[in-house]
Symmetry: C2
Subunit: 309 residues, 2 copies
Amino acid sequence: MPVTDFQLIIVGGGPAGLTAGLYAARARLNVVLLEKGAAGGQVMNTDWIENYPGFPEGITGLDLAEKFAAQAERFGLITKLCEVKSMDLAGPVKKIFLEGGETLTSQAVILATGARPNQLGIPGEKELTGKGVSYCATCDGPFYRGLEIAVIGGGDTAIQEAVHLTKFATRVIVIHRRDELRASKHLQEKAFANDKIEFIWDTVVTEVIGSKEVEGLRLQNVQSEEEAILAVKGCFVLVGIRPNMETLPLEQLDNDDGFIITDKEMRTSQPGVMAAGDICSKNVRQIVNATGEGAVACLAAENYLSSLN
Amino acid sequence: MPVTDFQLIIVGGGPAGLTAGLYAARARLNVVLLEKGAAGGQVMNTDWIENYPGFPEGITGLDLAEKFAAQAERFGLITKLCEVKSMDLAGPVKKIFLEGGETLTSQAVILATGARPNQLGIPGEKELTGKGVSYCATCDGPFYRGLEIAVIGGGDTAIQEAVHLTKFATRVIVIHRRDELRASKHLQEKAFANDKIEFIWDTVVTEVIGSKEVEGLRLQNVQSEEEAILAVKGCFVLVGIRPNMETLPLEQLDNDDGFIITDKEMRTSQPGVMAAGDICSKNVRQIVNATGEGAVACLAAENYLSSLN
């Protein structure tokens, strides 16, 4: 077996990567986790989490991320702060090329680079994220009981979540830049039949208005260019999700537009390479299944390493 | 759509069932969770848990189970304490028959009945579980750093875990009732080559000895019937795991010796029936992936319910 720096390299320090790291450190693998910012991933930017089991009163994203990191560190996980430039994952020696010229090698790799929701890129959006601007209806819907909210988008996810959100909100206004939806006919029919859902067509949002919380949206009709203000307490931006795939050698991995395809053991098409969390091709992207996949990926890595010698 | 008592019935109140319940209650489904004992499942009997992410200092099984249950209840999950007798899961109306004659109906079902490790059924085993007797090397191995321990069993799991446990223990004694292992040749070779592993053949354990913690094992040679005492601090019983399948209509569900086969969305072969946690056919049975599967199963149930109307 060729000599490598590590048995296992984990790329990404969100819930999936940190759980893989916790399991790997407990199993005493020679492992390192690579993270470019602070450990925790997208969770860090999540204001309040109610659906990660174990915290009946809820927990801030920052606190949960710190707990994940502290737990893995307690068992000896080393985190290296660095930027990955590219990777070569084919063959028995996996190579991770870092910005600055350093190259790390390992026998196995777990990819946990995550994904990010597409943003509108308009004033107020970033400032009010977690304060009325949300990218996840499953996570944040229950916070809007009895309120009026907007959903931005026209695809399957946007329309499905608009219907879902009527369980909480008194009124859901779907804002779409075209005059018809991309969502499936079945979903469209459900949405059109729902009294609580209204549509504003041919319209884009140009600003999220509010000082401490979302108070409204500035709208612009793309045909007439007329402007209007819509008063809402919440705004779900559901215009797609992008994989953090920029450093991944996609030509070496079966993938679905950059989302990595795995089997149930979280193995990719490349022997010795596992993936876990939001970077995977799947339907459900929640903290609780990212952590689960991290553990499964680590045990698959252990089995792979065990098969080598 | 026929009228049913519930949209969703969840069978089993361990980590998988309670997480499915948390998600279902947050999504405001008309849902009930059925549990025969106290909610929490096997976790309740786990002394100390270090590998469920979010608790850097560790947590008792009882505390974690209570947190899972409290969180689901906070969002309105109703738990019905009852014993399930049998089920009919074919067709659009799922029927759950309870002991005492009551029948509950629903459109969708999540099976989360769990599994249980096979026990030896010898004196001291039950009393010292969590106090030196363990059924999970991944979970409890790190507690035995620098100690001498026994592994009971001769199959793949027993031998793989014996090798794994040498990362912690100074000496691992494998006790097997036959004179050769059932484990794969590859695993056998690794174990035989490992200096820290010793074997005691043709031998059964007849008693776990210890007052507050495991102090030793009483052994009996099955050929000579000679008895002996082995002084060890820990004892891993790895003689297989059994699905809690007694109430399941296995003729209606693809399964692998009673373990339910699902796809990646946790859907079984029966439309409207999902499964999550240890009852599933899979390689990794940990709390963290049971919870993840519970969430995924709930979202699959929501999608199924949504397709009905």
